[in-house]
Symmetry: C2
Subunit: 135 residues, 2 copies
DNA sequence: TCTGTTACTTGCAAAAAACAAGTCATAAGA
DNA sequence: TCTTATGACTTGTTTTTTGCAAGTAACAGA
């Protein structure tokens, strides 16, 4: 992926950083707590290629969305976690959940979560954020 | 771009349809009323290649986010416009504006628009939606 | 020390994007 | 009505990115 910015439009800026087919899925797995290690990210569902994952992690770290540190409990692996800047993409992810759940007849989105999200967006946002932060 | 779905995750579903480097910019130009014709989309800032634009328009039409009709005032051109499904991506675009405006020091996002959006999200959403609908 | 994990890297083929040029259906002007 | 212009693309080619398979290096455990 290229890094060259295309304009000063805020949407374009956002897309230049996370507007590819994988970055937001990586952020999703970190935000919703499904993964913390390389292996988990690699195996979490959609089948990203290992070289692409490595490149994306490097990139997301470089632009400040996530950080990497050695796991003190097992020094051969690394813990990937979101920075505040990375966590701030949560509202974007939540809107994508709402849109996807609305238009995908086969969606796996839990209906009660979606209903709560629609009804009380701020509250759900705060809850997911809090859970993500304590990791 | 491929069309094959990767999973039933709503975020993944959304990204399968609009998670590339151009689709959301096209939607942006249609939502915010900067463009209605092929030429305008082609020249609106970021420099999409003509073959890529053509392919994306075909794709977005096929998945039901936009529609195409001949312009009655000049039958050699076509008017591209959003469907309700396409217009429903607006919340995603607005969150990207907020994120981009927050983290891009060179952002061109009008500060008063961003401030209003932060303060009264629902209202701005309704306004932009209303303006986009009357086209 | 040997074996297994974990996190990658490297090499190559396939797909997609960027770039340049050309086609085709209107429309507008002489 | 012939001629040129415009708008919306298509086609061919090069470059970049992705996907896939295999391999390597650091650390851990027995």
């Amino acid at each position: 992926m290229t890094t060259r910015r295309r304009s000063n439009c805020p949407i374009s800026f956002t897309l230049d950083l996370i507007g590819d087919r994988w970055s937001l899925l990586i952020l999703r797995d970190l935000v919703f707590g499904r993964a913390r290690f390389y292996r988990q990210l690699l195996e979490s569902g959609e089948g990203i290629a290992t070289n692409v994952l490595a490149e994306r992690l490097r990139r997301l770290e470089r632009v400040g969305l996530l950080s990497k540190r050695r796991d003190p409990d097992d020094r051969k692996r690394f813990i990937y976690s979101l920075t505040p800047k990375g966590l701030d993409t949560l509202p974007i992810l939540l809107e994508m959940i709402l849109w996807g759940a609305k238009y995908d007849p086969r969606t796996a989105a839990p209906p009660e979560f979606v209903a709560r999200l629609r009804k009380d967006r701020e509250r759900v946002l705060a809850e997911v954020r809090a859970r993500a932060e304590e990791k």
